[in-house]
């Protein structure tokens, strides 16, 4: 873990500049980066989207994405200059001496071939191993990565293993030729927290066993802290700060690094439970699923009081989004009922009245697809005003302006199309659209998970302020416990379609926990470089 066993210099970037093309013009997206990586060293690259961290990562392989080009500077890998090198030279290096692990393993595997065949492809192609040796090697590496049934798992197809296993299979593939350098591009971002730990532990272990140098790209400082010897903080293609992991976490020099460190520390106290009866929304004994065979929700009951935030937490597949679909009426349940202020809501949205529809609004995970790209902000926010409240054009115009003010965007944004907004701004527009209907309950389905951490925190604060002003209730669906800690009053923990624990925030978050809640809570990475080791030691004992 310490930097003492660093070897010779392996990769050097000098004043690297990379340009990307947009609207027929070239924009600099990496602006003069210097980077040195030694053998066996793990370097963390961290920054929000647009920081250029992935571009720098793949530049380490002498590659730029289509539409990008090296404009100046050098990338030297073990004495070979890559930016101007002929394609053949780079091709020989890639796969055999430099490997790449992408964010989405599912999208990187060929679904038509077994894992082990894809493992063998690179070493056989490069002439490092023959097919038999490669198969033997694969089993060995699968074992080292602690994959279940290492002898046979390679003979499965990609869809026959879980997301975490597939990601580890991809790490194994990168290891196939025993490369000197591996570039990890957000390898755990798409995984659940509990799965993330398996993959992190596997990566950490194998990189050390083979003394491989690695560039680990992520937006999550807590994750990179577990693996990296050194961290570079990037923003807008420039280096903000660089330093040894421990030193940087203890004493960040730049304000921006400090902000990244402080992320996830936002907390709000639990409101005392309101004694209103009946509650705003009550879900009683809901069982639901897709088709007659796939039951996703099993006897779920949840209550949401007035002006309260109820967080539904669980991993992918726990049925939390299905719960939202049942409440909105998109998926009529097999059994159970939904009561809104004591009144039963029709199971399908098609049978609900305009007013019933108005009272429950929804905000989605991906603001990119939640806004019609051909509609201006004015029309997007104005439509519910016209549709539910019957406002005329002048009244709409005034109200849109007010709503934009509420979500802290200037009034000129009414003119814009979604394509002219950033991710955080789009999510704000989605919030304004929900608010325009003057609902009493807003269902937030993973509203912050597609956003950068700093932006996500601003959105959470905004939602909180709006709740204080407008007395609206939230049903907050999320997999991120930091979000839950930040804004919820009550927590519902779900596992495989069932509620395993439910109660006030403080009650759920203070020990003793339910077994599964404990697992979830302990799996959230902390800004402590020893967190992963300690946790693994604790779980092993």
């Amino acid at each position: 873990m310490t930097s003492s066993k660093k070897g010779d210099v392996l990769l050097v970037m000098r004043d690297l500049r990379i340009e990307g093309q947009a609207d027929e013009k070239w924009h600099e997206i990496v602006r003069g980066i210097d980077l040195t990586l030694r053998r066996g060293e793990v370097l963390g690259l961290i920054g929000e989207s647009g920081a250029g961290k992935s571009t720098i990562g793949i530049a380490g392989m002498g590659f730029t994405r289509p539409g990008c080009r090296f404009s100046s500077g050098t990338v030297t890998f073990d004495g070979i200059e890559l930016t101007g090198a002929p394609e053949e030279t780079k091709r020989r290096l890639r796969g055999s001496r430099i490997a790449y692990v992408a964010q989405s393993a599912a999208a990187s595997f060929n679904p038509a071939h077994k894992l082990i065949k894809q493992f063998a492809e690179a070493p056989v192609q490069h002439g490092v191993l023959n097919a038999g040796q490669a198969a033997k090697d694969a089993v060995d590496i699968y074992r080292r990565l602690q994959m279940p049934e290492p002898d046979t798992i390679g003979f499965r197809y990609p869809h026959q293993v879980s997301g975490g296993q597939l990601q580890r299979a991809m790490v194994a593939m990168a290891m196939a030729c025993k490369p000197d350098l591996i570039v990890f591009d957000e390898p755990t971002t798409a995984l659940d927290v509990t799965t993330q730990i398996e993959v992190l532990a596997a990566i950490k272990d194998i990189v050390h066993q083979f003394n491989t140098a690695a560039i680990y790209i992520t937006h999550d400082l807590a994750v990179v802290a577990q693996l990296a010897d050194r961290i570079m903080v990037l923003r807008h293609g420039k280096l903000i700060e660089e330093g040894e992991t421990r030193a940087m976490l203890a004493h960040p020099k730049e304000a921006y690094t400090g902000q990244l460190l402080a992320v996830r520390s936002y907390r709000r106290d639990e409101f005392p439970p309101s004694q209103d009866d009946p509650p705003l929304l009550e879900v009683r004994g809901i069982s639901a699923g897709y088709g007659p065979l796939i039951k996703v929700l099993d006897d779920v009951s949840v209550k949401i009081g007035h002006k309260r935030t109820v967080a539904v937490v669980g991993e992918s597949g726990s049925g939390k989004s299905t719960l939202a679909r049942v409440i909105t009426g998109l998926l009529p349940p097999y059994q159970g009922e939904i009561l809104f202020k004591g009144q039963a809501l029709p199971p399908s949205y098609k049978n609900r009245t305009k007013d019933q529809l108005r009272q429950v609004q929804m905000i989605y995970q991906m603001p990119d697809v939640a806004l019609n790209p051909k509609q201006r902000v004015r029309d997007e926010i104005g439509r519910p005003l016209e549709f539910y409240l019957g406002m005329d054009a002048a009244a709409r115009e005034r109200r849109v302006k007010e709503l934009l003010e509420m979500i802290e965007l200037p009034a000129e944004f009414a003119e814009r199309l979604p394509g002219e907004l950033s991710g955080g701004q789009k999510q704000r527009i989605c919030i304004a659209r929900a608010l325009a209907a003057e609902p009493e309950l807003i269902i937030c389905d993973e509203v912050t998970s597609a956003l950068d951490q700093l932006v996500a925190e601003e959105i959470l604060k905004l939602l909180q302020r709006l709740q204080d002003d407008l007395k609206v209730s939230y049903l907050f669906i999320t997999h991120d416990l930091a979000t839950v800690k930040a804004i919820s009053d009550e927590i519902v923990v779900m596992l495989q379609g069932r509620v395993v624990q439910q109660g006030g925030k403080n009650a759920v978050l203070t020990p003793p926990h339910h077994e599964y809640t404990e697992l979830l809570l302990s799996s959230v990475p902390e800004m402590d470089p020893d967190w992963l080791d300690d946790l693994l030691a604790k779980r092993a004992s």
Binding site: Q21, G67, L330, P384, Y388
Partner: protein
Amino acid sequence: MEDFVKLMRSSPWSARFGMAVILFYVVVAVFAPLISPYGETEIVGSEFEVWGGAFLLGTDNLGRDMFTRMVYGARNTIGIAFATTCLAFLIGGFFGLMAAALGGWVDQVLSRLVDILMALPPLIFALLLLAILGTSIPVLIGVIAVLDSTRVYRLARAVAMNIAVLDYVEVARLRGEGLLWIIRREILPNSLPPLVAEFGLRFCFVFLFIAALSFLGLGIQPPTADWGSMVRDNATLITYGDITPLLPAGAIALLTVGVNFVVDWFLHKTAGLRDDQ
């Protein structure tokens, strides 16, 4: 206007060529009576006169001026093809979007119906229908439009399917919007680019189809000038080494190439592809 100038400047030579060809055809079609020296069906000379003199491109099998026929042919063939394509898109586009937005049994019924229509060879089916219904121009337009709308339906449905499952359409559904509003405001604007491109391609196919029908004698009826029947009427000249019957065929080919160039460029543009890909 500024955007338009910028767009034109960035267009490749192939697209410019295509646009020039289309523009030329449109001008010829619109100003046909002003351009042509004689009347459309007027017999002005003896049969099969050679090029030059009073007849720029000679005369046809009845002694009508070939150049005049070519100019009027542009008007008739293009006009009918355009009307047919528009009608095909109205029918196919509407039902395709509706099938995608509604799903369920509506989609099933419409799609199977289209499958049946597509299973029949279009030329044979068109010949059959035209033989039954007669060969007036409205019938011609109607028959070809219905046959062609099946292809449009398939495309519109496929494109709209991908859009109908997006969150913003779900938002509109949950808001309680009606079907027509959802189709018109949410789905249609976002499925337009591939449909516009398809319009260009289908226009070519319709155009060729009409020409083929006319060549077989069931399309646009004499004495109306039409490129397809002009090829047939003068086909005998080929045996004497005269290329006159190839002129209408060449006119068809040139327009098809021109339209395809423009469509290619448009698709390239809307798909966001770069030149190096």
